[in-house]
């Protein structure tokens, strides 16, 4: 029972810290004027570059079945 309570407390603590970090992150991005669209576009470009950097593969190729 004590172990279960401890686990629940740990989970609650993590959830609070998670939500706090999420709120801070959102506020920082707001302040910087960064939109979701900006982030998604940046992630697309990074995904393409990582393909070349990590695997040495060409950019955005359509792979035939």
């Amino acid at each position: 029972m004590k172990q279960l309570t401890r686990q629940r407390n740990n989970t609650d603590d993590d959830l609070v810290e998670f939500e706090t970090a999420a709120t801070r992150l959102e506020q920082r991005l707001d302040k910087l004027g960064v939109t979701e669209e900006d982030l998604l576009k940046a992630a697309d470009k990074v995904r393409e570059r990582m393909l070349a950097e990590v695997y040495g593969l060409g950019v955005d190729e359509l792979v035939q079945p």
Binding site: T11, D14, L15, E17, F18, E19, A21, A22, T23, R24, L25, E26, R28, L29, L32, V34, T35, E36, D38, L39, L40, A42, A43, D44, K45, V46, R47, E48, M50, L51, V54, Y55, L57, G58, V59, D60, E61, L62, V63, Q64, P65
Partner: protein
């Protein structure tokens, strides 16, 4: 508890909005109601995207932004899938037909999560789902499926 493999667009949408289904997915993982599964590739991609969007004069904000990002990830206690091998990526590319997304699909194939969640319905299609045996869904489809 179901294991949820998250594409980067779920993380980004969830971290950018206070409410919404992607945010709900992240919060449920942080509450241990579901198990978050993240590819190392996705974690790095989002980290680099956060840096990339900063203008030169905002560069000094990067450290604080990344501290919050890694706390956000860490507190959700994700299962982390290592980088896929080139062989796994090549095999995944034959399924998804779009090389950019092959490392993420390869990681999901290796992790065998209960669900692969992505808002990229153009590439993470039901054809990909049937060819891999993965359940692929948007957060909306996921919630509709588990709360019929």
């Amino acid at each position: 508890m179901q294991s949820l493999f998250l594409d980067s667009n779920i993380l980004l949408e969830g971290m950018r909005s206070r409410w919404g289904l992607s945010k709900a997915v992240l919060s449920l993982c942080a509450a241990r109601i579901h198990q978050m599964v993240l590819a190392r590739h996705v974690i790095t991609e989002v980290e680099r995207a956060l840096i990339e969007v900063l203008r030169v004069e905002q560069a000094e904000e990067a450290d604080d932004l990344l501290v919050d990002y890694f706390t956000f990830i860490d507190k959700a206690r994700p299962m982390i899938v290592p980088l896929a091998t080139i062989q796994e990526v090549t095999a995944a590319a034959r399924i998804i037909h779009h090389l950019n997304h092959a490392p993420v699909l390869a990681a999901a194939i290796r992790a065998r999560p209960d669900w692969l969640l992505s808002n990229n319905t153009e590439h993470f299609t039901q054809t990909v789902a049937s060819r891999t045996g993965l359940k692929v869904a948007t957060p909306y489809e996921f919630f509709r499926a588990i709360h019929p």
